[in-house]
C-alpha cells in the first residue's frame, strides 16, 4: 500500500493543519492511503516525479485520459496527459525550476480520440527537505462549461438533439423523467439513431453529471477481455495480469456506465451483469473480495432483445432487469420533416468547421437526399453532408458531389420503406426503372452493331483477321477477343 506523508502534498495549508491536529487525527490522516485521497477528489489528478514520469493518478484522471494507472506508470507525463501546453514551452520543467504553480487553460486529446477543454493547475511537490520532489497536475474538464457557453443564447444543454417530428418530441419529453431516476435504462433503436448521444444527455442532466460517464461497447471486445474490462482483475488472475486493474464499473463509481451493443454481451457475462444490477457488488476476475459500486447502468442495442430472449441468446431475467425504463429512438425515415432540419444543421456545422464558402444544396441534390432512405440514419446523413462539403469546390452542392452510392438503384429500392411519402418513392422508382431500361437498350444496340461490323469486316477480308482488324481500327488481339465473345 502506498502511504503519503501529507507534508509532501500541498505545502503550507495541510502542513499547518497537521501540526495543530490532536494526535489521534494526525494518525488517521497519515494512515490514509493516497489512492483514497486522490479518488475522493472529483478532478483528474496525476503525480509526476522529478523526471516528470507518472507516479500515481486517480480514477477521474483515468476516465479523462483513457489510460489506466498500470499502463501509465513510469511513462513521461506529457505522453499520457497529451496536452497542448507543450507547444507554448515546457511548463512542467519550468515549474520544476521556478517552483511556482501554474493555472492555464488548454486541451487534452484522450485515448478515445476526443479533444477535451481542460483547466490545468500544476503545482510543485516538496519533500521533507523542502526540495522539489515532483509535480501535481490537476485537470478540470471544462466541456460542460464550454457547452453551456455555446448554448448561452437560451438554448438548453439538449440543443444537439434535433427533431421537430412528433416521435422525437415524445423522446424529448421523456428525457427529463429518465434523468431524474437511478433506475436501469434500455435505449433501443436502429444504428445511427443517436443512442449514445441520448445516454450522454441523460447522464449530463442527471444528478450524476459531475461524475464519470463510462462507455463500453460490449460487442467490441472478446469475452475474456470484456470481463476484465468491466469488472477488473487482480494481480496474477491470468497470464499477463501483472497488476490489479479496477475495471470500468469501478471507474464509473458514482457516475453512469453505458453498455452499448448489450445484445452482443456473451451469455456467461450476462449472469455476472445481472448480479451486479441486483446487488451492486461483484468479484473482480480472480479476486476474493467483493467490490461494492454505486453506478447507474444505461444499456443500448440495435437488436430486438425480445427476439434474442426468444432465441435463447439473451437472458430473460437480465432483459427485465435492464428494461426497467425503456426508450425507443425512431429511425430517420419515420421522422417526418427532420431530414431537412438535420441536413441544414450538419451543413452549417461542417461549413463552419472547414471554413468553407459553400452556400447550400442545389434543388436537385435536395431532391435526391430527401428521397433517400438513410438506412444508417442520422450518422449516415451526417457522413453524406461531411463528404459533400469536403468534396464540393463550388458554392452549391450539386448531385455530382454527393456520394455515388446514393444513385445506385439497390439503395433506392431499400429506401422505399413504410412511412416514406408514396409519391416520392414511386417517382424515384420510376426514374430508376426508366434509366435502367435505357441503359440496357443502348448496351444491347451497341453489341449488335459491333457484331455486324466485325462480321462485315471478316467477310470483306475473306476471313483474314489481321486485315479485318486493320479495317476496323482494332488491334489483332482485341479482334480475336471480340470474335471469341460473339
Amino acid at each position: 500500500m502506498f502511504f503519503v506523508s501529507l507534508r509532501l502534498c500541498a505545502r503550507p495549508k495541510v502542513y499547518c493543519v497537521i501540526e495543530t491536529m490532536p494526535i489521534s487525527s494526525t494518525i488517521l490522516v497519515e494512515s490514509v492511503s493516497i489512492a483514497e485521497i486522490l479518488n475522493g477528489v472529483p478532478l483528474g489528478i496525476v503525480l509526476l516525479d522529478r523526471s516528470l514520469c507518472v507516479l500515481r493518478m486517480n480514477r477521474f484522471f483515468e476516465a479523462l485520459t483513457g489510460y489506466s494507472e498500470e499502463d501509465a506508470l513510469g511513462v513521461p507525463g506529457n505522453f499520457i496527459i497529451r496536452s497542448d501546453l507543450h507547444t507554448r514551452g515546457q511548463p512542467f520543467r519550468q515549474i520544476l525550476v521556478s517552483g511556482e504553480s501554474l493555472i492555464q487553460e488548454g486541451t487534452i486529446l484522450n485515448c478515445h480520440r476526443k479533444k477535451l477543454p481542460i483547466l490545468f493547475t500544476i503545482s510543485p511537490l516538496h519533500d521533507s527537505e523542502e526540495q522539489i520532489a515532483g509535480l501535481i497536475v490537476v485537470l478540470e474538464d471544462l466541456s460542460s462549461v464550454r457547452h453551456a457557453e455555446r448554448n448561452a443564447g437560451g438554448v438548453d444543454c439538449m440543443a444537439k438533439l434535433l427533431g421537430h417530428s412528433p416521435k422525437m418530441q415524445e423522446v424529448f419529453e421523456l428525457l427529463p423523467v429518465l434523468a431524474r431516476t437511478d433506475a436501469s435504462l434500455l435505449i433501443t433503436g436502429e444504428t445511427g439513431t443517436g443512442k449514445d448521444k441520448i445516454a450522454e444527455v441523460i447522464h449530463k442532466t442527471s444528478k450524476r453529471a459531475r461524475q464519470p460517464f463510462i462507455k463500453i461497447n460490449c460487442g467490441a471486445l472478446p469475452e475474456s477481455l470484456l470481463e476484465s474490462e468491466l469488472f477488473g482483475h487482480v494481480r496474477g488472475a491470468f497470464t499477463g495480469a501483472i497488476m490489479d486493474k479496477p475495471g470500468m464499473f469501478r471507474l464509473a463509481q458514482d457516475g453512469t456506465i453505458f453498455l452499448t451493443e448489450i445484445g452482443d454481451l456473451p451469455l456467461s457475462l450476462q449472469v455476472k451483469l445481472l448480479t451486479v444490477l441486483d446487488d451492486m457488488e461483484f468479484y473482480p476476475v480472480g479476486g476474493c473480495t467483493k467490490v461494492k459500486v454505486n453506478v447507474r447502468v444505461i444499456a443500448a442495442t440495435h437488436r430486438s432483445l425480445r427476439e434474442q430472449v426468444r432465441d435463447g441468446l439473451f437472458r430473460e431475467d437480465l432483459f427485465y432487469r435492464l428494461n426497467v425504463l425503456q426508450i425507443h429512438l425512431p429511425p430517420l425515415r419515420e421522422r417526418e420533416g427532420d431530414i431537412r432540419l438535420l441536413l441544414d444543421y450538419f451543413f452549417r456545422d461542417f461549413v463552419s468547421q472547414l471554413g468553407s464558402h459553400i452556400k447550400g444544396f442545389s434543388n436537385a441534390s435536395l431532391e435526391v437526399l430527401l428521397a433517400y432512405g438513410f438506412s444508417g440514419n442520422v450518422r449516415e446523413l451526417s457522413n453524406i453532408v461531411e463528404y459533400a462539403v469536403n468534396i464540393c469546390p463550388g458554392e452549391q452542392i450539386t448531385p455530382e458531389y454527393l456520394p455515388k452510392y446514393l444513385f445506385a438503384p439497390e439503395n433506392h429500392q431499400k429506401s422505399v420503406v413504410p412511412g416514406q411519402p408514396a409519391s416520392v418513392s414511386s417517382r424515384e422508382e420510376r426514374r430508376h426503372q426508366t434509366a435502367n431500361k435505357t441503359e440496357t437498350h443502348s448496351s444491347e444496340n451497341w453489341n449488335e452493331t459491333e457484331r455486324e461490323m466485325i462480321l462485315g469486316a471478316m467477310k470483306k477480308t475473306g476471313g483474314n483477321r489481321t486485315k479485318a482488324a486493320e479495317l476496323l481500327g482494332l488491334g489483332r488481339t482485341t479482334l480475336w477477343r471480340k470474335l471469341k465473345a460473339l
Binding site: 523526471s51 499502463d71 505522453f79 497529451r82 497542448d84 486529446l109 485515448c111 480520440r113
Partner: protein, 116 residues
C-alpha cells in the same frame, strides 16, 4: 510500403494535431529501402498533415493522440493508423516493419526516461 511517424525529439509525438516534425520511411519485406527522411512542417496543422499523408501515398501512419475526425478521414482514404503509440520512433518503426505494432502500444523503453 510507406510509413509516416509523427515525432518529437527521439519519440513518437504525443499529439497528431500539434506535430511539426515527421519521419517518412519506405520498406519492403527485406527491410528499409533507403534512408528514412525527416520533414519539418511550417507549423502544426492536422489538415496540412492529412494532405501531406495523401500526397506522399503513405500506407501506415503512426502517431500518439489523434482526433476521431482525422482518424476517420485517414481510414476512409485507406491509410492504416496506429495511434496512442508511446516510445522511441526507431523502435516503433522496427516493430511496424515486423508487423508487430498495435494501436496503444507503450514500449518499455518509454518508461522512466526523461521527459522530452
Amino acid at each position: 510500403m510507406k510509413i509516416l511517424i509523427t515525432i518529437s525529439g527521439d519519440n513518437v509525438a504525443p499529439r497528431f494535431d500539434m506535430v511539426s516534425e515527421l519521419l517518412i520511411a519506405s520498406y519492403n519485406p527485406k527491410g528499409l529501402t533507403g534512408k528514412p527522411r525527416t520533414i519539418l512542417m511550417a507549423g502544426p496543422s492536422p489538415e496540412d498533415l492529412c494532405s501531406l499523408i495523401l500526397k506522399e501515398d503513405i500506407n501506415i501512419v503512426i502517431c500518439g493522440g489523434i482526433e476521431e475526425r482525422h482518424y476517420k478521414y485517414l481510414a476512409w482514404k485507406k491509410v492504416e493508423v496506429f495511434d496512442s503509440v508511446i516510445g522511441p520512433f526507431n523502435e516503433v518503426l522496427d516493430l511496424a516493419m515486423k508487423n508487430k505494432l498495435r494501436s496503444g502500444t507503450i514500449l518499455l523503453s518509454a518508461r522512466n526516461v526523461r521527459d522530452t
